[in-house]
């Protein structure tokens, strides 16, 4: 009996070792899941925990420069908070949305830590991290002028496009519109429609939309040509309506009319393609590329919510014809509306480009200031003298040229129109400019997709924005 039991025990011992061994391996696997895989699992976008914890505290408000509420959290009977956006679609792309299922965008995303009040998400602290959580998030004060924003939003009407308006002296964004838009409160119910939208309503065209700049680029080419002494303000160019470059290329005016004998100021005012094509060819790829670098096209703008980098051609590989095309803002060059607003701002601010920014203050719920931000110099694109000269030429564009529809009385507005050919149909209508000329308060870029001529379509929109800003 004893011997039999001993033999059975030998078998039991083997089973015990095997089973306990597997359980010890399971222990190791559990440690792996919780510690090594843990970071990734906690951060997984499908993990709703951080969003859920966000719904339990009152998220901070987002305010415009005059204290108007752009976003706030409303307490529900069940104790959870729901995000409200009083300006709805008007500010959807700048303010963004904060959604428990679909995450955050815009300022809601970039300043999520301040707004959510969850300042210390350090996992290693474990339960101690709860000590850092507050009952309410901080308020974020923006540079946006909600009234001007509404004016710009209405001015675009039902057309696709974007507006960027900023203070050229500080870089503060006053208005940023992208159309078509969406209501951030409807993200939950309309998510499927929004993500599959052929018109890309979720896209912030003002900073993420890439377009050929068209003739608005001539402002920069004029500056480069004067700086590099390729021409001066007095030289006369002859425009015969068309210009054959090499074998394959022919540059022509948009209305096929010859501008005759024009100086640089006249050429900008009438937007003479042939003059600027020739100037670009004379600049050559190296000096033309340097102009893009001087105006900061090859570096980030530093805007808090991010922006799409410009798509610049490889200048050294461009043929003469392609170089001329790029000089009038056509070809493979693609830029955002924000970039073009910054060119106008450079001329308005004595050649200095300020870093564009959206947020001026972060305040605690009790009103005490926690952080402040102010204008920072991004780069110096050109000299005050050259900026002055180009600005004067831009005034002529509005006073007696293609941009007359943007005018607010003689000598008050400087600008440049653009009509960018593109493969998607009608040309994009552009306008960039600033006002008032003697003491610039606002610089803008307006683009209307596939709408036609910049002077006819975009300039009137810019005029409404200038009028609104200088009210």
């Amino acid at each position: 009996m004893q011997a039999m039991a001993d033999e059975v025990k030998k078998n039991v011992r083997r089973i015990a070792l095997g089973l306990l061994g597997v359980l010890v391996i399971l222990f190791g696997y559990l440690s792996y899941i919780q510690v090594i895989e843990g970071e990734a699992l906690a951060a997984n976008s499908l993990n709703r925990r951080s969003a859920q914890s966000g719904m339990q505290i009152e998220r901070g408000k987002i305010l415009d420069r005059n204290g108007k509420v752009l976003a706030f959290s409303e307490r529900q009977p069940d104790g959870q908070y729901v995000r409200r956006y009083p300006y709805g679609a008007v500010l959807a792309h700048v303010v963004g949305y904060s959604n428990s299922s679909y995450g955050n965008t815009g300022i809601e995303s970039r300043f999520n830590r301040d707004l959510s009040g969850i300042k210390n998400p350090w996992r290693v602290l474990g339960p101690l991290a709860n000590l850092w959580n507050s009952k309410a998030g901080n308020n974020v004060v923006t540079t946006i002028d909600a009234e001007l924003q509404t004016i710009a939003y209405r001015a675009l009407g039902n057309r696709r496009g974007a507006v960027v308006a900023l203070n050229p002296k500080t870089g503060a964004i006053l208005a940023m519109v992208s159309k078509p838009s969406f209501n951030p409160e409807d993200v939950d119910t309309e998510w499927k429609i929004l993500v599959n939208d052929p018109e890309s309503r979720l896209l912030n065209r003002a900073v993420q939309g890439l377009y050929p700049p068209g003739s608005t680029l001539k402002v920069m080419v004029a500056e480069a040509a004067l700086r590099e002494k390729v021409t001066d303000t007095k030289q006369l160019f002859t425009c015969e309506g068309t210009w054959k470059i090499g074998k394959d290329y022919e540059l022509s005016e948009s209305h096929h009319q010859a501008h005759g004998k024009v100086n640089l100021e006249d050429a900008l005012a009438v937007s003479c393609n042939i003059t600027f094509g020739k100037l670009t060819v004379q600049l050559g790829p190296k000096r033309f590329a340097e102009a893009f670098t001087r105006f900061g096209f090859d570096r980030p703008t530093g805007l808090e919510i991010g922006d799409a980098p410009s798509e610049l051609p490889d200048f050294n590989r461009l043929s003469e014809g392609e170089l001329a095309q790029t000089g009038i803002g056509q070809g493979s060059l693609l830029v955002t509306p924000l970039r073009m607003a910054m060119i106008a701002a450079a001329m308005a601010n004595q050649g200095n480009i300020m870093t564009p920014y959206l947020v001026t203050e972060i305040n605690a719920p009790d009103g005490s200031q926690m952080e402040t931000y102010s204008g920072k110099l991004l780069l110096t694109a050109t000299s005050p003298e050259l900026a002055q000269i180009v600005s004067k030429m831009m005034v002529s564009v509005v006073d007696r040229g293609t941009g007359s529809a943007a005018g607010l009385g003689r000598g008050s507005v400087a600008g440049k129109t653009g009509t960018a050919e593109n493969p998607h149909g009608e040309p994009h209508a552009w306008f960039i400019g600033f006002a008032p000329v003697d003491n610039p308060q606002i610089a803008v870029a307006v683009i209307l997709e596939n709408s036609g001529y910049g002077g006819a379509e975009a300039a009137p929109v810019a005029r409404q924005i200038f009028a609104g800003a200088l009210r």
Binding site: V8, N11, L23, A42, N44, V124, N130
Partner: protein, 422 residues
Amino acid sequence: MEIMAKHGAEVKLLVLPGLMLLAGIGAVSLAIGKIDSLVLGIAAALAVSFVAVHYLLMWIGRHGDPFLLPIASVLAAIGLIFVFRLKPELFIMQALWVWSGLIAFILAAAVGKRVESWADYKYIWGAVGLILLLVTALFGVEIGGNKNWLIIGPIHLQPSEFAKLFIVLFFAAYLSERRELLAYDTKKIGPLVVPHQRVLAPLLAVWGIAMLMLAIERDLGAAFLFFGTALLMLYMASGRYSYLIWGGGMFSMGAFAVYALYPHVRPRIDTWLNPWADPNGAAFQVVQSLFALGSGGVLGSGLGYGFPNLIPEVHTDFIFSAIGEEMGLLGSGAVLLLYITLVYRVFRIALVAKTVFNVILAGGLAALLGLQILVIVGGVTKFMPLTGVTLPFVSYGGSSMVGTFVLLGLVFALSEVGASDG
């Protein structure tokens, strides 16, 4: 003298679960910001009960292994804290289940003294186990994805929790009696040894039951537990690896057939192989469970500060993930170590038992417990396919609580028989 020292250890250890329970209930109450005096009163009464069980056992003259009851009580206390945190309305019921479990433990420990003589009634145990399973298969109702519930008036039962014990009892008696036949009266097919038909019959019967459970009740977990335990016991009795291979092959074939025939078994395997293919559909539970464990990290979010309720059925099958989220690896690892210690203790009791029947019975119960831990903890961590079994002593539910305490009571009795003989 030795017995006195043992008693001292047990009674000291039994103070722990009560203190843990009160501290845990207090922490959860503070996190919610509401203190319920009824809940605190029940917790205090439970704390006293854990210690009282020890004196009741002394009073009826039972002196078994001093670690079994403290480990089970600590696990039950953790379960009570988490049931209160996850589903506060179920706390009182769970407290009743724990009391029922403690009483069942004492009863099992008391009657278990005669466990030796139970071997004679093996066919009765086998029949009872079989009837319980058949009744469930025929009249079972589906709750929470498993069709293994029996509803009699107001009582909801999971008979398989008790059937397991009867089947283990039957097998221990049957195998200890026919040990020699199994080990020596064999034929050979190639390199593999085939047992005599008379031995094969009950094994085939258990295999049939397991397949039935799989097909009718969708209960992959229970089927695996039954068959796995039977197979491990067969090895204990015979010492022949080829039986494990035969059995494993038969189960795999059967499982594959069911996988091919029944579409509802399929998602469980598919989601195990790749849960990220459908994280919001079939794999929702496993993915949510992994999120909970990952978010918990080493120290956890703190009791009441996590979001374990994002996992469906978190208070029953997924309670382990909730522990991992709010107590971190420190909590979940401690629970797993407690189980490993418990399984180790039960195996140790098997190894010091005096008769073949007692060795195989204790070994079988240890295997059953160990496999159940493997299946549920492995399931919620994606270590193996997820199958619905409870986390013993911790998950919400009466059948599992009482059934597992009966198992432990029997082991307690077996430990005493072994010790007093030595």
